[in-house]
């Protein structure tokens, strides 16, 4: 909302500079985005002139050599406007004047002739958009009159961002009342206090009729009729005001409707009554496929919820949004029907979005205006039509209204004000603030009985809304104390899972992985690129109804896709080795476990996933640079689990996006929690990567299995352990885990650990065999083990290994 300062001051002059007022407004809840100066920065050097003589420039067809009386004498001015003529009263910028674009005017020679000034067009002063010719002023003005006395020059315009609850501040008068409230400066009488004289012939109902078929969507429709209307340009002051407020002047009738809307926040619409057959207007919803060309020259088609203002032949305007060309006011218009209506805000918003058509009118109606406001606008507009267009107002107002809402009466309790804000505002102050804002407030003991004015009806509905009003006018920034809650919960903190998640993330980072944040969105084709088959749940993601693009239309079911995206992007930028991890959710069919009465619509397990590309270790002259392969990533998972005190197990398992021979399922306590492996070559190819290995784990079961922070002391110093190495030859296909489990099983409680530390395949162990070397740790909690005991255990291990086809290498 652009508020020209001179216009605002007509209703309330706070007696301060625009910038100071803007600061006050900002701190009381009215956001001023900027203050703009329209027109030249200073009125100095701009005067009224009389064109004494005007001749063709001898060397340039399009230029005229004029002689202009500027009060202080006659001076030569070369002018390029086609409409300049002797005898005109014009606006002149003299040498030394600064133009709106900052250019300082000087004496000059134009094609050989001296020119001491400039005859101005409307757009050169930013009082209009017209550049087809110079402004021709009222002949009654004397030469030399300062132009600033004729029209506003250097107008400060406050650009206000109105919050959606404050429909009243979409009008200059509403802003003026706000200024009155926060400054205490007097507010002028309501501009709608006086109506126009009705001296037209007959009654409005003789000329027109209105039928509202959808009263729930049109709570009020008022219409007045004007005859003998003379269409022409608006007076300059009106044009200048509209221009400063950001509206293009069109003609006097249309300008008046815009002016009154900008003043009162209530939009109006003028019909050429002679283009409304029989003067019959019908307010109804659109029929299927109904079309109309709006004032902007675009043909639009409507749906069944669109409300139209129709004549007997069809649509004549879209209710509350834009009129139609069919009944547009034009140069030949002599009779005007002035519509001021109230529409259902939600419906207007919906239709405006549906049509992709937002107008000054719809921006106001969509906030829901009060039906009471219609007549205010009728009265001001009527007076202007009579004064500026020579119109005669026909007596009577056509008024089709549903029942208006009862004024709200609220109680404002003194205790509640201080209790909610934490600062005291006296009853007198509360009352003063509310009355300045247009509320009626009657003391009732310590409390106030408050009546809400119509233009705040939908915004202020409860006691708490009144508290906000008095608080902001009183000055929150100035008066509010700074305290901390006296009551509360004694201690805050993270949940165990949140702490473990942080630990896991930190662990991955310490292991050299950079954390990334990928998009939750993906494209539905990702599953296919990951070779996930159609039946797999991960191939049927949650789809968005209104995505921004196809690439962002599905919610990811795995973190792998975005890790591959990010890796590929970095590789394309020249990165060689990449270690990346993400800690985030995926979205799967099911219900989530979150606080609250209603389960979440979708399951959102939190996952930890990582990818390695190139090498995890840095190459150097001493070695390093081993490929980020299955075992490199497995080592990371093992270290991650160790860091949490969780035990994970690996077993061969296939995933469609992994190398079938180099992939494993990861499990805790026998239940799968994710996968680990080298990414399938075809998947790598789809992402333009040479090779990659990755894993993805569910955080919750991993955290549940973690013993971190819950460990109890174990005595390892009193009785020493016995360490022995063991080499076992087994068939090559026998998993190392089976060998280890056999050994641990046979060793019983006294065998504390058995870890594989070497693998050998070659001639010495025979074709089809491999040799695993393990380090064993024997320990008893209550005694020192004897050599005989250990030897006995070793025999049992040997026997057990025999069973699974293994032999000890002695």
């Amino acid at each position: 909302m652009r508020v020209p300062y001179s216009w605002l001051r007509e209703y309330c002059d706070p007696g301060m500079e625009p910038a100071a007022l803007a600061d006050r407004l900002v701190m009381t809840g009215t956001e001023v985005e900027r203050i703009e100066t329209v027109g030249p920065p200073s009125a100095e050097g701009f005067v009224v002139g009389k064109v004494v003589a005007c001749e063709k420039h001898p060397k340039a067809d399009r230029l005229s050599a004029c002689t202009v009386d500027t009060g202080d004498g006659e001076r030569p001015i070369v002018c390029g406007a086609p409409n300049v003529a002797a005898g005109q009263t014009v606006a002149v910028a003299l040498p030394g004047a600064t133009m709106p674009n900052g250019m300082k005017l000087r004496k000059a020679k134009l094609r050989g002739l001296p020119s001491e000034g400039m005859i101005l067009a409307a757009d050169e002063l930013e009082v209009g958009e017209d550049h087809d010719g110079i402004m021709v002023l009222d002949d009654q003005l004397a030469a030399g009159t300062p132009l600033g006395e004729v029209m506003p020059l250097g107008e400060a315009v406050l650009e206000i961002e109105v919050t959606p609850n404050r429909s009243d501040c979409f009008g200059v008068h509403g802003v003026a009342r706000e200024v009155h409230a926060i400054s205490g400066a007097p507010l002028a009488d309501d501009p709608w206090a006086e109506d126009a004289p009705a001296d037209g012939d007959g009654e409005a109902s003789d000329y027109a009729s209105v039928a509202v078929e959808v009263p729930e969507l049109c709570p009020r429709f008022t219409a007045r009729v004007f005859t003998d209307v003379e269409i022409g340009p608006s007076p300059l002051w009106l044009q200048a005001r509209l221009a400063a407020a950001g509206q293009r002047p069109i003609n006097n009738v249309v300008d008046i409707t815009n002016y009154v809307m900008l003043l009162t926040a209530q939009p109006l619409h003028a019909f050429d009554l002679d283009e409304v057959p029989g003067g019959e207007l019908i307010v109804r919803t659109a029929g299927a496929g109904e079309k109309m060309t709006t004032l902007d020259g675009v043909e639009r088609s409507f749906d069944a919820e669109t409300v139209l203002v129709c004549d007997r032949n069809g649509p004549s305007g879209i209710a509350g949004i834009m009129g139609g060309q069919v009944s547009e006011v034009s140069a030949k218009t002599t009779r005007v029907l002035l519509e001021v209506a109230c529409w259902n805000g939600t419906n207007i918003l919906r239709t405006s979005r549906m049509l992709g058509l937002r107008s000054e009118a719809s921006a106001r109606f969509e906030k829901q205006l009060h039906p009471e406001l219609c007549l205010r606008a009728q009265r001001i507009a009527s007076r202007l039509l009579v004064e500026l267009c020579g119109a005669r107002m026909v007596p009577g107002t056509i008024d089709v209204a549903a029942e208006a809402p009862e004024p709200r009466r609220l109680t404002l309790r003194a205790a509640r004000v201080g209790g909610l804000l934490g600062m005291t505002i006296s009853q007198d102050e509360q009352r003063t603030y509310l009355e300045r804002l247009g509320f009626a407030a009657e003391p009732e003991g310590e409390d106030l009985r408050v009546t809400v004015p119509p233009d705040r009806h939908y915004d202020v509905a409860r006691e708490v809304d009144l508290i906000e009003e008095v608080a902001r006018v009183h000055g929150i920034d100035e008066h509010l104390p700074t305290t901390l809650p006296a009551t509360g919960e004694a201690v805050g903190g993270l949940s165990r899972e949140q702490r473990l998640r942080r630990r896991a993330e930190d662990g991955l980072r310490d292991l050299g992985f950079d954390q990334v944040v990928g998009w939750s969105f993906t494209d539905p084709g990702e599953a296919e690129r990951l070779r996930i088959p159609a039946g797999d749940a991960r191939a049927t993601p949650v789809l968005l109804a209104n995505p921004l693009s196809e690439e962002q239309s599905a919610m990811r079911t795995t973190l792998l896709g975005s890790l591959l995206d990010i890796a590929a992007r970095n590789v394309a930028r020249g990165a060689g080795d990449l270690s990346l991890f993400e800690s985030a959710r995926v979205y799967l069919d099911g219900e989530g476990e979150f606080a609250g009465d209603r389960p979440s619509p979708v399951a959102e397990p939190h996952r930890l996933a990582a990818i390695g590309v190139g090498s995890l270790s840095q190459r150097s002259w001493r070695g390093g640079g081993e490929a980020a392969d299955f075992f490199a990533l497995k080592g990371i998972v093992e270290a991650l689990a160790r860091g949490l005190g969780a035990e994970v197990a690996f077993s061969p398992a296939e995933e469609p996006f992994l190398h079938p021979g180099r992939s494993a399922a990861v499990a805790v306590a026998g239940a799968p929690i994710g996968w680990l492996g080298e990414v399938h070559p075809l998947v790598c190819r789809a992402w333009d990567l040479d090779a990659a290995a990755a894993f993805e784990l569910d955080l919750a079961p991993l955290a549940a299995a973690a013993t971190l922070g819950e460990e109890t002391y174990e005595d390892v110093t009193t009785f020493p352990a016995v360490y022995q190495d063991l080499a076992v030859v087994v068939p090559a296909a026998k998993p190392a885990s089976a060998v280890r489990e056999a050994i641990l099983g046979a060793g019983g409680d006294l065998l504390q650990a058995a870890e594989v530390f070497d693998l050998y395949e070659g001639e010495q162990v025979g074709e089809g065999n491999k040799s695993l070397a393990l380090n064993l740790e024997f320990r008893a909690p209550d005694r020192t083990l004897t050599d005989e005991e250990v030897a006995g255990l070793r025999d049992r291990i040997k026997a057990k290994l025999d069973e699974i086809g293994g032999t000890l290498r002695e």
Binding site: G422, D477, A584
Partner: protein, 352 residues
């Protein structure tokens, strides 16, 4: 016999003195003191000597032996030291080669790090961290937060909806967790809710996915002044101990009164000017930076959880929502929101 012993001693002493290396010394030790050495056999044969000779011969032999042992040891030490020295001299490395690289530590994402900073600050003020669903019911995201049915934010233009359920959407703020948290626990409640949120907007200053931290405090007697104190503590933790706050009245459907909160600029100290008189580019000369939205929880919101113990006449409180990206951008000079989701390792590795 005594002469012989002296001769052996002298010969051996001379040989040890003249030895040129530890290998030669070892050889001499074997020759003169070994099992087959003459001195050893002398000592071994003492018992067979006549009684009167036993004492002098044994004494001389033992003295000779002790002397030689000491001599050998001294020589070994001398030779060993010089040998080690010459060995170390040849055992040189090129100290200008690069050191063996340890596995470099990875980097946290700035969003994660900033989120933790906010969480930790609020935990210090007595808050718990709660997390809610990102795909949410319209009820929690809008209805229970006092958004009327036709509210613009509910429109398809602004909010992502799920295809299969018209009433399921991607949460547009972390605020749905306000009502969920209150359903789950009676007052008092002090929680912060970090997480991803989604809005249908994409340009240099809007991302369709971004992160917020929500704060909610409900108890008996909490006031707007308490909100100011809480936010001041948080903003000082985020932007420096001498920051000031400015609360500007604003409008949000689910708080009343509502405020927008500015923090004094930490680059120019709130003056709007840099040293040398230039306009501060961070706050654009304003001295204040808009940082979050907040307010007293609207009684209508509490009305939705009244059966759970939240009677708007008995308890009240405040809520706030802060944008994680905005905090991170301000703290670290990141110019464009989209950089956070590009995950360029050259950017990731700038932040440890």
């Amino acid at each position: 016999m005594l002469e012989r012993i002296e001769a052996i001693r002298a010969e051996a002493a001379g040989a040890v003195e003249g030895a040129g290396g530890s290998a030669e010394l070892e050889e001499l030790r074997v020759r003169y003191l070994g099992r087959k050495a003459e001195l050893t056999s002398v000592l071994r044969g003492i018992a067979e000597l006549p009684q009167e000779e036993r004492g002098p011969v044994g004494g001389a032999a033992n003295r000779a032996r002790t002397e030689l042992e000491a001599l050998l040891e001294a020589s070994a030490e001398r030779l060993g030291a010089s040998e080690l020295e010459s060995q170390l001299v040849t055992d040189r490395v090129d100290v200008t080669l690069p050191g063996a690289p340890p596995r470099p530590v990875g980097h946290p994402h700035l969003i994660a790090r900033t989120t933790r900073l906010i969480e930790d600050t609020m935990v210090g003020l007595g808050y718990h961290v709660a997390e809610g669903p990102e795909i949410e019911h319209d009820y929690y995201n809008f209805t229970a937060l006092n958004h009327p049915p036709g509210h613009p934010a509910r429109m398809l233009q602004d909010t992502f909806y799920v295809q299969s359920h018209p009433d399921v959407l991607l949460r547009t703020h972390t605020s749905p967790m306000q009502v969920r948290s209150m359903e789950a626990k009676p007052p008092p409640i002090f929680v912060v809710v970090p997480g991803k949120v989604y809005r249908r907007d994409s340009d240099a200053t809007h991302s369709p996915m971004f992160h917020q931290v929500e704060g909610l405090a409900i108890a008996a007697g909490l006031t707007l002044a308490d909100l100011q104190g809480t936010l001041l503590a948080m903003c000082r933790a985020l932007f420096g101990g001498d920051r000031e706050l400015r609360l500007r009245p604003h409008f949000f459907p689910f708080t009343e009164p509502s405020v927008e909160v500015d923090v004094s600029c930490f680059q120019c100290g709130g003056s709007g000017e840099l040293e040398g008189g230039e306009r501060c580019n961070l706050c654009k000369g304003q001295g204040w930076i808009e940082i979050l939205g907040a307010g007293m929880v609207d009684p209508n919101v509490l009305g939705f959880v009244e059966p759970h113990g939240y009677d708007p006449e008995q308890v009240q409180g405040f809520a706030f929502g802060i944008g994680v990206e905005r905090v991170a951008m301000l703290r670290h000079g990141v110019p464009d929101l989209r950089r956070f989701f590009d995950n360029d390792v050259r950017m990731l590795e700038q932040f440890s």
